[in-house]
């Protein structure tokens, strides 16, 4: 939560998250380069700089798949939810891995000639598909995303624009898949790389479809009760300290919260980054966003002082054990 910007809002969870991520990256590179050096004993086959360059490339793709898997995994099984928290740091670290891959490629393959190294690399496809250019374009998108991951950007670009811009990760992912696929084909690397890549695409596609189907099933199928009120569900169907999400055409998604038996309703969209509040839980009396821990009083929709974030709230009636919701926000 923020009433001033800081470089990084460190806490214990973030530190552990970052240390584990960095250690994982170093371990991955060490194993990749070490195994490569054992496999290619002669430096004339594949030299250590090429192994490192490839290592950063493979590491980037693995990290990108992990990043894109976290969202749907958390929807499918809430035990993955802690991974959502601090996903931004993971994204920035991924960008640096991808950047180092590109930097090493440009430096190693284009750094010893008389022309601009970047131009030399991007013009080197020799009539084939310019897969280097696809990777370069993806890297630019990842740079913009990493550079605008701070809350300052969310506040100044607006939530909708920021979210739309960061959804470009899927466009960049497509560019990366094409970059690797065409690169592997043109370098005649065999079937292993395209097969692993296809597996990754199928994995991500399957996860997103599964998560979407699960969410659709979990969301309350709304039925109008009277005068526009929505019959949500039985009170007992909302677990204590949790919420159920109500979606109705023409209205924003609403989280119906059970706070120790008191049923209230608020927007499902966190004021910070649009996280799914209904997938969070009540901690210290506040509904807590699963993405970055922003908190809201279920009764007022306000963040606890000194924070100033606020989300819309909705009227609730409980009649005969059933929860009824007015989908028009309080105060219009």
């Amino acid at each position: 939560m923020s009433n001033r910007y800081v470089l990084v809002q460190w806490n214990r969870h973030k530190k552990i998250y970052d240390i584990v991520t960095l250690a994982g990256m170093v371990l991955f590179l060490t194993v990749y380069v070490g195994a490569g050096m054992i496999r290619h004993q002669s430096p004339s086959e594949i030299s250590p700089p090429i192994l490192l360059m490839r290592g950063f490339g493979v590491l980037s793709i693995v990290m990108l798949h992990i990043i894109l898997s976290i969202g749907p995994l958390a929807r499918i099984d809430e035990r993955f939810s802690p991974l959502l928290y601090n996903r931004r740091h993971l994204g920035v670290m991924f960008f640096f891995a991808a950047f180092l891959h590109g930097f090493l490629v440009v430096g190693f393959y284009g750094g010893f000639g008389s022309v601009n190294p970047l131009s030399a690399i991007l013009n080197s496809s020799g009539g084939g598909v310019p897969y280097e250019l696809l990777g370069f374009m993806a890297l630019i998108i990842f740079f913009v995303m990493a550079a605008t991951s701070h809350d300052f950007w969310l506040a100044n670009l607006g939530h909708r624009f920021w979210k739309a811009m960061h959804m470009c990760v899927y466009a960049a992912y497509t560019l990366v898949v094409l970059h690797v696929a065409f690169g592997a084909m043109q370098d005649k690397q065999g079937a292993v790389t395209p097969a692993l890549l296809a597996l990754g695409v199928v994995w991500l596609g399957g996860l997103h479809i599964t998560a979407g189907l699960k969410q659709r099933k979990a969301d309350v199928a709304v039925a109008e009760a009277d005068a526009g009120w929505i019959d949500v569900c039985e009170v007992s169907e909302i677990p204590t300290s949790r919420a159920r999400v109500v979606r109705q055409a023409g209205h924003e998604a609403i989280a119906v919260v059970n706070n120790e038996g008191t049923i209230t309703a608020m927007s499902n969209v966190c004021a910070h980054q649009g996280g799914p509040l209904g997938e969070g839980q009540v901690i210290d009396g506040c509904l807590t966003c699963p993405w970055h821990g922003y908190q809201y009083d279920p009764a007022t929709g306000c963040s606890p002082p000194p924070y100033t974030e606020r989300v819309r709230t909705y009227e609730i009636r409980v009649e005969g054990g059933r929860v009824l919701l007015n989908p028009e926000p309080r105060g219009g």
């Binding site: 910007y5 131009s119 100044n156």
Partner: protein, 71 residues
């Protein structure tokens, strides 16, 4: 073709870097008052994004100046 693209991207980011450094040094506060209460080193982290999105930020800067001139 690729060389032209590189020149365009290079010029865009060169303008962006100059813009970002200048705006981070002071005018950033005019369109986001929260920056005034934030540590100076925060501006360092905002600079790359401003270099990338400088046309949008330039628009915000102009908008903020016009608003401050209104009686």
């Amino acid at each position: 073709m690729i060389d032209v693209l590189l020149i365009v991207i290079g010029v865009y980011f060169a303008i962006g870097v100059v813009f970002a450094v200048v705006v981070a040094a002071g005018p950033i506060k005019s369109f986001d008052s929260v920056v005034a209460d934030s540590p100076l080193r925060f501006r360092f982290i905002a600079t790359p994004g401003m270099a990338a999105l400088w046309p949008i930020m330039a628009g915000k800067l102009v908008g903020a100046k016009n608003t401050s001139r209104e009686p």
